[in-house]
C-alpha cells in the first residue's frame, strides 16, 4: 500500500505505480510504449475524477489532513516575495505551531499569519502537529497589531487540529488567548482575509479566523470539534467519526450552502498536494481578488461590514411572545 495515497485512492495508486513502472521499462528499452503510457494516464485521470466527484465528508476530512498537503509556509514560498518571519509573543516564547511575518504579494506589503504543521517526524514534534499554545495566539495578536500600525492587510491561513490541550497551555490561559484574539480581530483596522487551507479545527482555528472574508480550499474542512471528538461524545465511540463528519457538515460546499463562507477555491485534480503550483495560482488569484474587493471600502465602512457579518451568524426563530 502506498502511504502517499489514502485508502479510497488505492485504485489510483495502483495505476500510478503501473505507469511509473512502464516509464522505467520504456527508458531502459527501445520499445515504444508511450502510447500505452498515455492510455493509462488517461485512465488514471478518469479514475481520479470519478473517485473525487463523490467524496464523503469523512474522506474530505482525511484529505484535509493529508501528509503531503501544502502547509502555510509552502504557500508563503509560492505566493509571496520578501518574506521575513517574525518570532515570539514578547512575554513567554515563540510558538512554532503558528508562523507569521511580513512579505509582499503583487508588490504590496502585507502581513501573513498561519498555523504550521511539520513534514517529517522531527518537524511535526517541533510544530506540535500544528496545535498552538497561548503564546502562539499572543504572537499572532502582536503581529496583527503591528500590521494595524503600519496599515498592512492581513492574510490568515488556517490549518490546525485545534488549540493544544496541555497542562502548560491551560496554565498560561489558552482560553483567554483565544478569546482575546476574537475580541481584537473584530475591530482591527486593516483588512483581514482568512483561508482554510487544510484542517479548520474549532476554537484553535477561529482564533486567527475572524475577518472580512472567509475562503476555503475545496478539500479543507472547518468544524466546531473534530469528527472523532464529536463521535466519542455523541456516539460514545470515536469509530463513528464518519457519521459525525457527515452530520456536522464540515466541508466547503456544505458551509458555502449554509452561507458561512464566502468562496470555495477549487483544487487541482486529486487535491492540492497533487499539483501545488497550480493550487498556488488559484489561491493567489482568489486572495488578490478579495483583497482588492475589500480595499474598495473605506476602513470605517469595512469595520461596520465586518461587525454586521459577525452579528448575522446564527439561525433561530423569533416568535411573538
Amino acid at each position: 500500500m502506498d502511504l502517499n495515497f489514502l485508502d479510497f485512492e488505492q485504485p489510483i495508486a495502483e495505476l500510478v505505480a503501473k505507469i511509473e513502472e512502464l516509464k522505467r521499462v520504456g527508458f531502459d528499452n527501445e520499445i515504444n510504449i508511450s502510447e500505452e503510457i498515455a492510455r493509462l494516464e488517461e485512465k488514471s485521470r478518469k479514475l481520479t475524477e470519478s473517485v473525487f466527484t463523490s467524496l464523503t465528508a469523512w474522506q474530505i476530512s482525511r484529505l484535509s489532513r493529508h501528509p503531503l498537503r501544502p502547509f502555510t509556509l509552502d504557500y508563503v514560498e509560492m505566493l509571496f516575495d520578501d518574506f521575513e518571519e517574525l518570532h515570539g509573543d514578547r512575554s513567554f516564547a515563540d510558538d512554532p505551531a503558528i508562523v507569521g511575518g511580513v512579505a509582499r504579494i503583487d508588490d504590496r506589503p502585507v502581513l501573513i499569519l498561519g498555523h504550521q504543521k511539520g513534514r517529517d517526524t522531527k518537524e511535526k514534534i517541533l510544530r506540535n502537529f500544528g496545535m498552538p499554545r497561548p503564546e502562539g495566539y499572543r504572537k499572532a495578536l502582536r503581529l496583527m497589531r503591528l500590521a494595524e500600525r503600519f496599515r498592512l492587510p492581513i492574510f490568515c491561513f488556517i490549518d490546525t487540529p485545534g488549540a493544544y490541550p496541555g497542562i502548560g497551555a491551560e496554565e498560561r490561559g489558552q482560553s483567554e488567548a483565544i478569546a482575546r484574539n476574537l475580541f481584537e480581530m473584530s475591530r482591527l483596522r486593516v483588512p483581514i482575509i482568512c483561508t482554510v487551507i487544510g484542517e479548520g479545527g474549532s476554537g484553535g482555528a477561529l482564533a486567527i479566523g475572524v475577518g472580512d472574508r472567509l475562503l476555503m480550499l475545496q478539500y479543507s474542512t472547518y468544524s466546531v470539534i473534530s469528527p472523532e471528538g464529536c463521535a466519542s461524545i455523541l456516539w460514545k465511540s470515536a469509530e463513528k467519526a464518519e457519521l459525525a463528519a457527515e452530520a456536522m457538515g464540515i466541508t466547503a460546499p456544505r458551509l458555502l450552502e449554509l452561507g458561512l463562507i464566502d468562496e470555495l477555491i477549487p483544487e487541482p485534480l486529486g487535491g492540492a498536494h497533487r499539483n501545488p503550483p497550480q493550487m498556488a495560482t488559484l489561491l493567489r488569484d482568489a486572495l488578490l481578488r478579495h483583497l482588492y474587493d475589500v480595499e474598495r471600502e473605506s476602513i470605517d465602512c469595512l469595520m461596520d461590514q465586518r461587525y454586521d457579518r459577525l452579528m448575522r451568524y446564527g439561525v433561530y426563530e423569533e416568535g411573538a411572545n
Binding site: 488549540a163 493544544y164 490541550p165 496541555g166 497542562i167 497551555a169 491551560e170 496554565e171 498560561r172 490561559g173 489558552q174 482560553s175 483567554e176 483565544i178 478569546a179 482575546r180 476574537l182 475580541f183 481584537e184 480581530m185 473584530s186 475591530r187 474549532s202 476554537g203 477561529l206 482564533a207 479566523g209 475572524v210 472547518y222 468544524s223 466546531v224 470539534i225 471528538g229 464529536c230 461524545i233 455523541l234 456516539w235 457519521l243 459525525a244 452530520a247 456536522m248 457538515g249 464540515i250 458551509l255 449554509l258 458561512l260 461587525y307 459577525l310 452579528m311 451568524y313 446564527g314 439561525v315 433561530y316 426563530e317 423569533e318 416568535g319 411573538a320 411572545n321
Partner: protein, 316 residues
C-alpha cells in the same frame, strides 16, 4: 397548600413549587462533604452547603432570582427559540434533544437575560443554564448574549454574566463555533464604550464559552472550586499521558496563574459585585459634564418599560 408550606417565605415557596430543579424531598446530600442537609436551609443559603461551603450547581433562572433585586425585572430575548439548521442527528435528533431539554427545564434555550436592578443599580444580567444541553452555546445563546450587550450599550448600564457551560453546541456545528466570534465582537463594542462587563465563571465554564465571552470580563470573577478551562481534563490527560496536578483548572488554580481577578462566595456576590460596579462607574462620574446613569444608582426608579414586569413581580 400544606401547613408546612405556609411557614416557608413566599419567595422561596414559589420557586420551589414552580421550578423544581432539585430532587423532590425535604433533604439533600452535599455532593462534596456528604452532609445531609435540610432542603429549605440549603435554599436559604443560596445552594451553598452550610457545612463545607461547597457551591452546588444552580440553574440560571434561580441564580438571577437570587442575584437581582426582587421585582422590576424584564427578560430580554425570551421570544427567541432554537431551530435545527443542519437537521443534525446522532443517536438522537437534535430536535428531540431540544424538546427534551425544553420540557425538563421549562426554558427555550441555555441562556437567560434579564434587565433588572442590583441593590438599586440598573444592570443587565445573564445566566447560563447548565441543565439545558450542558449550557452549550448555539445560535440562541449567542443572539441573546448580543442583545444583552446591546441593552447595556443603549442604556449605558453594566453587564454581569454568569457562565456555566460545556462549550459550543456541537449540534449546530460551525454556526455555534462562530457564536464565539459574535459574542466577543459585541463585547469589544461594549468595552470601547466604557460600559463595565463583569464575567462570573461558575462550575463548569469550559471550551468555547470559556474561550470567548467568559474570559473577556473587565473583571473576571469565579465562584470557589469551579472547573474552568479550555480543554476538558479528560482530553488533556489522554493527550499528555500524565496525571494532572491537584486542583488543576479549578478557580484557585486560575487565580494563582493570573487568569481571574478574584474568587467570590455566592453568598457575598450581590454585595461585592455591587460595590465593584460602584467603584468602576464612580470613576466616570468625576468626568465633568458627563452625567452618567451609572454613577447615580439612587435615581434608579422603574421606567415605563418595566411596568409589565411590575405587575407580575413573580414572573421571573
Amino acid at each position: 397548600m400544606s401547613w408546612f408550606q405556609k411557614f416557608v417565605p413566599a419567595k422561596i415557596r414559589t420557586e420551589a413549587s414552580t421550578k423544581s430543579t432539585v430532587p423532590e424531598g425535604l433533604w439533600s446530600k452535599c455532593p462534596h462533604c456528604g452532609a445531609i442537609l435540610y432542603r429549605a436551609e440549603l435554599e436559604r443559603n443560596l445552594e451553598v452547603c452550610p457545612k463545607c461551603a461547597h457551591h452546588l450547581r444552580i440553574n440560571g433562572r434561580r441564580r438571577l432570582h437570587f442575584f437581582l433585586d426582587p421585582g422590576n425585572r424584564q427578560e430580554i430575548g425570551e421570544q427567541l427559540s432554537p431551530v435545527d439548521p443542519l437537521k443534525f442527528k446522532d443517536s438522537k435528533k437534535y430536535k428531540d434533544r431540544l424538546v427534551q431539554s425544553q420540557k425538563g427545564t421549562g426554558e427555550k434555550d441555555a441562556l437567560i437575560v434579564v434587565r433588572g436592578y442590583l441593590k438599586g443599580l440598573p444592570i443587565v444580567s445573564a445566566s447560563f443554564n447548565f441543565e439545558f444541553m450542558g449550557g452549550s452555546m448555539g445560535s440562541v445563546v449567542g443572539e441573546r448574549f448580543v442583545r444583552a450587550v446591546n441593552e447595556s450599550l443603549r442604556e449605558r448600564i453594566p453587564l454581569v454574566v454568569f457562565s456555566a457551560s460545556g462549550g459550543a453546541r456541537m449540534q449546530e456545528s460551525l454556526i455555534s463555533l462562530f457564536q464565539m466570534a459574535k459574542t466577543s465582537a459585541a463585547l469589544a463594542r461594549l468595552s470601547a464604550a466604557g460600559v463595565p462587563f463583569i464575567s462570573i465563571m461558575t462550575d463548569p465554564t469550559m471550551g468555547g464559552v470559556s474561550a470567548s465571552l467568559a474570559m473577556l470580563g473587565d473583571i473576571n470573577v469565579a465562584e470557589p472550586a469551579a472547573l474552568i478551562g479550555f480543554a476538558g481534563p479528560r482530553v488533556i490527560e489522554q493527550t499528555v499521558r500524565e496525571k494532572l496536578p491537584e486542583g488543576f483548572q479549578r478557580s484557585e488554580f486560575l487565580l494563582e496563574h493570573g487568569a481571574i481577578d478574584l474568587i467570590l462566595d455566592r453568598r457575598e456576590m450581590r454585595d461585592r459585585i455591587h460595590r465593584l460596579l460602584l467603584l468602576l462607574t464612580g470613576a466616570q462620574s468625576r468626568d465633568k459634564g458627563r452625567e452618567s446613569e451609572l454613577s447615580r444608582p439612587e435615581v434608579a426608579a422603574p421606567t415605563s418599560a418595566f411596568r409589565s414586569a411590575l405587575d407580575s413581580p413573580e414572573a421571573l
